[in-house]
């Protein structure tokens, strides 16, 4: 009896075992790396991304559903007392957002990317006049943030003024002189993110 005939059962089991071994070794990739990186892109249709994601805190999961429209970018001198350091320019990225007033909409992150894919982050390479202004990258209207989570108690706190169904925000990023942003990325909960081209 040939070796192949004697071992045909094991040959059938072998690919299954290889797949099982790969799956068993994939914990860090599936549970740590992919969820903590922008790996799930939200499609942009007609300049608007229908951003959906989940936020879990203290064992409670909240669903986000926010329509994000990128309105444009321009260079500005200063926003709410925030300026770029020497060697950089301050870019303002304008968004219009729409969501049910009961949806948690604070805590977004906006970053810019250049043509080489290098990332530019909010607050870096900036100077803040502490006597001026409010947060300029919170993604929700100041004083009308809508529900936010108290991370100590895990409870939802409503803002003094309800958030309107639609609002505008501006996020600013200092980008070195001579660098043009090609893409602006927004996300609340990784791995979900939306990319908009900067024209």
């Amino acid at each position: 009896m040939s070796w192949w005939k004697r071992n045909w059962r094991w040959l059938i089991v072998l690919p299954i075992a290889v797949v099982a071994a790969g799956f068993a070794s994939s914990h860090r990739l599936l549970e740590i790396y992919w969820p903590s990186d922008p790996t799930s892109e939200v499609a942009v249709e007609s300049e608007t991304a229908h951003y959906t994601s989940s936020l879990t805190n203290a064992g409670v999961t909240y669903e986000r559903a926010i329509d994000v429209t990128f309105d444009g970018a321009q260079i500005v001198e200063s926003v709410e007392g925030l300026t770029a350091v020497e060697g950089a320019r301050l870019w303002a990225f304008d968004f219009t957002m729409a969501a049910d007033p009961e949806v948690i909409a604070d805590g977004c992150t906006v970053i810019a990317l250049d043509s080489d894919g290098r990332q530019y982050f909010p607050r870096a390479a900036t100077r803040q006049d502490v006597s001026a202004g409010a947060l300029v990258d919170s993604c929700v209207p100041f004083g009308a943030e809508g529900p936010t989570i108290d991370y100590f108690s895990g409870e939802l706190i409503d803002s003094a003024t309800p958030r309107p169904a639609q609002w505008t925000t501006t996020s600013v990023i200092a980008i070195p002189d001579g660098v043009e942003p090609r893409t602006v990325r927004i996300y609340w909960d990784l791995p979900r993110y939306a990319d908009f081209p900067v024209r």
């Binding site: 350091v85 020497e86 060697g87 950089a88 250049d114 894919g117 290098r118 990332q119 530019y120 982050f121 607050r123 870096a124 390479a125 200092a174 980008i175 070195p176 660098v179």
Partner: protein, 195 residues
């Protein structure tokens, strides 16, 4: 008979394989050691070294007995090692931290300093240099042979670390201690794609 020999051979091979595997396993570092392993990238003063998140260099090495920052003053009976860290991010992280000094006596100095400063440098953007004057309180006998260690902000272990040899000899150390004066920690300065 032949079958028995084959079975015994298979058992012997299996036992030998287990023994070899166990022996190799005992020589390998454990999981924690692997995760905490750093990858030193060596350099000297004014030399730019590349770590995973960008380029770093150290310059303006000196000493002080008194350090001022935001109008507050800290004095030491030991010595403050003063230097400037310059960091050019590559777009992964905006800052480098922690920054510490490994003395020539092998002791490590860092953490929150008497003047209240954190040993970090940033935040900047890809391609934009940021230079941060820093002062680290160290023992006098640690000055000769000291080096500065600069870590990636996101992973102080298990990643690149720049190790900058300050090139301080015993004679240099004696002179630096004798001439230590006052050092003012200025705000970080930005500009240019140096180093």
């Amino acid at each position: 008979m032949a079958k028995r020999v084959m079975k015994l051979s298979a058992a012997a091979i299996a036992i030998a394989a287990f023994a070899a595997g166990s022996s190799i396993n005992s020589l390998l570092p454990d999981r924690e050691a692997v995760l905490n392993e750093t990858f030193p990238v060596h350099g000297t003063v004014e030399q730019a070294v590349e770590i995973r998140t960008g380029s770093v260099s150290v310059g303006d090495v000196g000493t002080a007995r008194t350090v001022t920052r935001f109008g507050a003053t800290a004095q030491t009976s030991a010595v403050f090692l003063t230097f400037t860290v310059t960091y050019v991010p590559n777009g992964i992280e905006t800052s480098v931290a922690p920054i510490e000094v490994e003395g020539g006596n092998s002791h490590v100095f860092g953490g929150i300093q008497p003047y209240g400063g954190l040993l970090k440098c940033g935040a900047s953007q890809a391609g934009l240099a940021v230079s941060c004057p820093l002062a680290v309180e160290i023992a006098k006998d640690a000055l000769a042979g000291a080096s500065v260690r600069i870590y990636n902000y996101s992973s102080a272990s298990g990643d690149d670390v720049a190790v900058i040899d300050l090139g301080i000899s015993e004679e240099d150390a004696t002179e630096l201690i004798a001439t230590a004066g006052t050092f003012e920690i200025a705000d970080p300065s930005y500009g240019g794609a140096k180093p």
